[in-house]
Symmetry: C2
Subunit: 188 residues, 2 copies
Amino acid sequence: MNFCHTCGKQVSLKIPDNDDRKRYVCDNCGEIHYQNPRIIVCTIPCFEDRILLCRRAIEPRLGFWTLPGGFMENEETTLEGATRETLEEACARIKIHGLYTLFNLPHINQVHLFYRSSLLDLDYAAGAESLEVELFRQDEIPWEEIAFPAVGNTLELYFRDLVHGEFPVRSADVLLTDDGKRYIKSHH
Amino acid sequence: MNFCHTCGKQVSLKIPDNDDRKRYVCDNCGEIHYQNPRIIVCTIPCFEDRILLCRRAIEPRLGFWTLPGGFMENEETTLEGATRETLEEACARIKIHGLYTLFNLPHINQVHLFYRSSLLDLDYAAGAESLEVELFRQDEIPWEEIAFPAVGNTLELYFRDLVHGEFPVRSADVLLTDDGKRYIKSHH
């Protein structure tokens, strides 16, 4: 950030009065430009014993499989966002059952939420950001080609919980090792 | 938003290519300035059968009681943010047990997360944004002076779940009626 989006003058990185961390503050009008984590809303769309995955048509991780999801928008709820993203990426209509996993990704300032859901019909198809969309049984999941650790972890937990039919909400952090590898640290 | 924070030239509100909603787009460098909901991280700090509340020293709802919480910052996790806010607002050290409630507030583009926690000691005090900080038993809670619907609802649910000692994660939307009154619509 170089300029104030309100008055167009230069900003400086400094600690405002009564604050304890650096913010972009306008040199002219004094506006403080706060920057905060963004929310990614995703679903686990199920049909009988199968889960719908999307093969990514965009970077990052083009060609890898993921659960449908994307940035939560202003003026919507997490459920509305997750439902919208599932329609956009997999052309799939769902009924949402509830929150299942929450992941913090502090290195990219994101929080990912995954919602359990059921497909309302089988008229799914690849949306603009997907190469293909397919239903997988547990033993068919392309584990080696999953796009993101949070997606793989959510699928593992889901199939484990499916045995008992109970799905408590679980949360974890996706962190980086010193050499930049991602690993999952569960909160429980 | 009037100006691009990267190049300082004017922005226009328009729908970018391959998008379906209006964004602020720079007329000069083309940067798209996405705006997304922010996360408020809060805790329910417990000590035996009492809960710690803070009386707000700032607007909105100055003088009303709330659970400690505030904006999640970049580069932190939800747990770190909730712990930090509890220290800032109530000078209280806690151990977090788990996520308890999630509220969408789409009219102000916020998602509020409340975490169950235990006070590690009784050396709490009013932080800069609190007038006073106090422990309340269920029958002592100042129900008529609670600052926000999500806080009141979280406290109600908590005391109800406390009877059985089980605290499933619950979520809801805080919505506005046509005449601007807030009401809670549970997801379950």
